[in-house]
């Protein structure tokens, strides 16, 4: 081969050894060993630098070398370290590219990688001048590849740090949400006592002033409970623990039930409340009726709250329907209220935001209601939208899909008797398992007043014993109790019923744990229903009535 061809072929092979890898070590590892073999070298060392002088005593380790350096360069390659010291101290400047220094029969070739690095090759005999110049061009390309790797590493590091910071912020936010959820839950237990005992006192002989004060305590307690419930919902959404509870329901009775108290509020403000469900809207649906009711109460409640005169109108229309696909229902709430300026419309769906702070002062509220409604609608597969004309009114509307349900499986609040008289027609023997003395006393009083007989247990073990000794018509079972919790007690009861061929005693979970996961846990353990605290008297009586279906003998 002619010297020219040899030169070109070496340059060609070396240039193609510079790969596309973005990891510096991988890239250099694919380049240096084959390059050394091709050039018949003994070893090679690569440093990357910024042209800054290095103190004579501390030549840094090369960023890559073949073979590897184990330990410091001074210890493992003292000749090389000593030879490099004057160059490193002088900002890594070599006298000329391809400077060759002979020490102890070995030739050290000092080849700059542009302005960013240095390659030292050990070879005996030394490389010819022409080869050094040919190599110089390749090393400029190697410099570019090295800088690309360094840039990539820097970006990767920055990306990793940003990701870690984001994860830390999310963890902190989640922890805050979990804390709020926990605190809100803890507040619900004493609230149960306050509201229940107020209810109980309202049934007793009172003076007009006492009745008025107790009425105010009750409405204040309910307002506080609404706020706590909103914070709890929002915290669960933020913590990612809120899930929908799908069930079959009847749409019309659900809305009818919901509008009754709202109509009272509208009347108090001399507003007209109209509502219309189009006739082609199917009545039996599958979805989360509780959450749908919550959304509608929020939207209609807001409409009433922010409307001083005129009317609030609610409509439900069928958007699309095919036999195989879910029905798409459009819900719209229109008011003639204060309206929302266009620039504020996006913000009102954000948590803790109202159109302006004067609204908060005038109308109150947590500013969470619309955020919660909006997110619940998203969870249902829709989007809450708004059209508003300041001074004239607003329309909040959303469209969500519902599966059509088979009538037979329907079990909704509408099937209960919401306005039963306090005195029940069918007195039951109820076993109440509750460790909190106030709540136990409250439940006993409410149940006794309604005509039920109550025996009590302070933990799951006592409940199990009580059930064995004198089987009740129903058990109200707290979830969290000392000695034995409600879930374990339920499992044991269900096992014993099965083994002994005993009739199934209805068990209702009665707990401040309002999470849907808790509800699932209860149902899996064999409980029949679930009532979260705080509850009102009517809810308690309804759940008993619903769960204890009269047998032929008792009917």
């Amino acid at each position: 081969m002619t010297p020219t061809l040899e030169l070109v072929s070496v340059q060609y092979a070396l240039a193609l050894l510079i790969g596309q890898d973005l990891d510096l070590r991988t890239m250099l590892r694919k380049f240096l060993p084959p390059a050394l073999k091709l050039l018949n070298c003994r070893s090679g060392y690569i440093w990357l630098h910024k042209g800054e002088p290095v103190s004579a005593a501390t030549i840094p380790e090369p960023c890559y070398s073949y073979p590897a350096v184990h330990g410091t360069l001074t210890d493992t390659q003292p000749v090389l370290a000593k030879l490099l010291q004057p160059f490193a101290a002088n900002g890594w400047q070599v006298n000329k590219p391809g400077e060759i220094i002979e020490t102890g029969g070995t030739y050290y070739h000092l080849m700059p990688l542009g302005k960013s690095g240095l390659l030292v090759l050990l070879r005996d005999p030394p490389l010819p001048e022409s080869h050094l110049l040919a190599l110089g061009l390749v090393l400029k390309r190697l410099e570019t590849a090295c800088l690309a790797c360094l840039q990539h590493a820097y970006l990767e590091e920055a990306r990793k740090e940003a990701l870690q910071a984001k994860e830390a912020a999310e963890r902190a936010s989640k922890a805050k949400s979990e804390f709020l959820a926990m605190i809100s839950h803890e507040i619900r237990t004493p609230m149960n006592g306050v509201i229940g005992l107020t209810d109980l006192m309202l049934y007793s002989e009172l003076t007009a002033t006492q009745r008025e004060y107790l009425g105010m305590i009750k409405s204040s307690s309910n307002a506080l409970l609404d706020i706590i419930n909103e914070i709890l919902d929002f915290s669960r959404m933020e913590a990612g623990t809120l899930a929908l509870s799908p069930a079959s329901f009847h749409l019309r009775p659900l809305l009818q039930d919901m509008f009754t108290p709202l109509t009272v509020r509208a009347k108090e403000k001399s507003l007209a409340l109209h509502w219309e469900i189009a006739s082609d809207v199917p009545d039996t649906l599958e979805g989360d009726p509780g959450r749908l009711r919550q959304i509608m109460i929020n939207l209609v409640g807001n409409a009433i709250k922010f409307t001083e005169s005129g009317e609030v109108a609610v409509s439900v229309a069928l958007q699309s329907s095919t036999p195989t696909e879910p029905v798409q229902l459009l819900f719209a709430v229109r008011d003639t209220g204060i309206g929302i300026p266009p620039e504020k419309q996006a913000a009102i769906f954000q948590p803790f935001q109202q159109a302006d702070s004067s609204i908060t002062r005038r109308y109150g509220g947590t500013g969470l209601g619309l955020t919660i409604s909006s997110r619940l609608i998203e969870m249902m597969g829709g989007t809450l939208r708004l059209e508003s004309d300041p001074g004239k009114g607003s329309i909040f509307y959303f469209s969500v899909p519902f599966k059509q349900a088979a009538t037979a499986t329907i079990s909704t609040p509408s099937e209960t008797k919401p306005h039963q008289p306090l005195q029940v027609a069918r007195p039951l023997h109820v076993l109440l398992a509750e460790d909190n003395a106030v709540n136990r006393m409250l439940a006993v009083r409410l149940l006794n007043r309604a005509g039920h007989t109550v025996s009590v247990a302070e933990n799951g073990k006592e409940a199990l014993d009580g059930w064995l000794a004198n089987p009740p018509d129903a058990i109200l079972m707290d979830m969290q109790m000392p000695v034995m919790d409600g879930v374990e007690a339920t499992i044991l009861i269900r096992q014993q019923e099965q083994r002994g061929g005993l009739p199934r005693t209805p068990i209702i979970a009665l707990t401040a744990n309002a999470m849907s996961s808790d509800r699932d846990k209860c149902l899996q353990a064999g409980m029949d229903d679930f009532l979260s605290k705080p509850f009102n008297t009517q809810d308690l009586l309804n759940v008993l009535d619903r769960t204890c279906v009269p047998t032929e003998a008792s009917a």
């Binding site: 081969m1 193609l16 018949n40 003994r42 005996d124």
Partner: protein
């Protein structure tokens, strides 16, 4: 064997039975050998079932391999074994998965940095039909570099069927490398005697030990054109290796030198070689003359003997394809080497599938069609 003499003990069996092999192994152990080097012929037909239990029961380290043929003190054996009881304790390290395309051997070779004493000789034996021998050697040199000297070769069968071929205390091993540290000095000679005949060609396509294209044309097509034209024979009616053994490839190194690569067999239009061929490198087709090859054996022995006194044992890794090429004259190659060694220095060796050595002024390489002679000196520290 006693420490004052510190000489190896050597037993040769020309029958090739496992019974004779273990008789000699036990004899060497009884004489106080501290470790065992065993070289055996492929024709013995040794299998793990035959040997493993007894290898595992040995009280001292054992290493070595099964090669196409072996050299036992100046004689080439096509059948049989040689057992060499060494007066030093060998440190044997094994690295597996030598054909795994995903394997990175560096973490394992890097561990050897703390285990091995710098300055020792590393007898490096590999399953010669593994696909990533050069990758292993690159990692070995990257980790250990110039702290050691290296000598060795590829074991295996000339049938080119990969099978268990390395002796170890775990049994016979396949697709493994064996790094054996001996606390003995060594001097090494490396020569081949082949010369550039056709080319240069650019290796435009290659992976592991397979060349797919040369100058952007199918590799076998290019090779066939050159070899058939020169030899007057045709691959269609001649066994591939019978023709290819005289025409190896040469990887170009700066200033005229080449590293030889033996084409083993065609795979479609590609060529499978002993050892990796890097892409984008210049390659030649080489040709040999018997005289040049025999001259190389003389030079090799001269280089290896230079400065090694007192010599204790000569270890030869001579490519099997050289015997196929030199045929009857191969005895001259062995004679050339034997004659340059002192009479009291035994010559053991293997006719190998690839040779491993560190020339002292370049990086560690995997060679083909090459003679690698290592002359081991006596143990450096001797005290009774």
């Amino acid at each position: 064997m006693n420490r004052e003499q510190a000489q190896p003990v050597i037993f040769v069996d020309t029958v090739g039975t496992d019974h004779a092999l273990f008789q000699h192994i036990h004899a060497a152990v009884a004489l106080g050998a501290k470790s065992l080097l065993v070289l055996a012929c492929d024709a013995n037909g040794f299998t793990p079932t035959q040997l493993d239990a007894r290898l595992q029961a040995l009280p001292i380290p054992i290493f070595g391999g099964i090669f196409p043929e072996i050299i036992a003190d100046g004689r080439k054996l096509t059948c049989g074994s040689v057992v060499c009881g060494l007066p030093v304790t060998a440190q044997v390290h094994l690295i597996g998965e030598l054909s795994n395309p995903e394997a990175d051997y560096f973490p394992q070779t890097e561990q050897l940095v703390t285990t091995l004493t710098p300055g020792t000789t590393l007898v490096t034996l590999v399953d010669g039909l593994s696909k990533r021998i050069s990758a292993l050697l690159e990692c070995l040199y990257e980790a250990l570099g110039t702290r050691h000297q290296y000598v060795g070769g590829g074991a295996g069968s000339l049938s080119f069927v990969q099978k268990p071929c390395l002796f170890s205390n775990q049994g016979l091993l396949e697709d493994y490398a064996q790094i054996v540290s001996l606390d003995l000095p060594i001097s090494i000679g490396i020569e081949h005697g082949w010369h550039k005949f056709a080319g240069p060609f650019f290796v435009t396509g290659a992976y592991d030990n397979t060349i797919t294209t040369l100058d952007y044309r199918p590799a076998f097509e290019v090779y066939k054109e050159v070899v058939e034209a020169d030899s007057g024979k045709r691959f269609s009616d001649t066994e591939f290796f019978d023709l290819a053994k005289a025409y190896p490839f040469g990887l170009d190194r700066l200033k005229g030198d080449v590293v030889v690569r033996d084409p083993l067999f065609p795979k479609g239009n590609a060529l499978v070689c002993v050892g990796e061929v890097p892409a984008n490198h210049i390659i030649y087709i080489l040709k040999g003359e018997a005289e040049n090859l025999l001259e190389a054996s003389r030079q090799c022995a001269d280089t290896a003997m230079w400065g090694q006194t007192p010599a204790m044992l000569a270890l030869l890794f001579d490519c099997i394809s050289r015997t196929l090429f030199l045929q009857d004259r191969f005895a001259e190659e062995i004679g050339n080497i034997r004659s340059r060694l002192p009479d009291n220095v035994p010559l053991l060796g293997a006719l190998s599938l690839g040779e491993i050595a560190d020339a002292g002024n370049t990086c560690l390489e995997f060679f083909n069609k090459t003679i690698v002679l290592g002359v081991l000196g006596g143990q450096q520290e001797q005290s009774a």
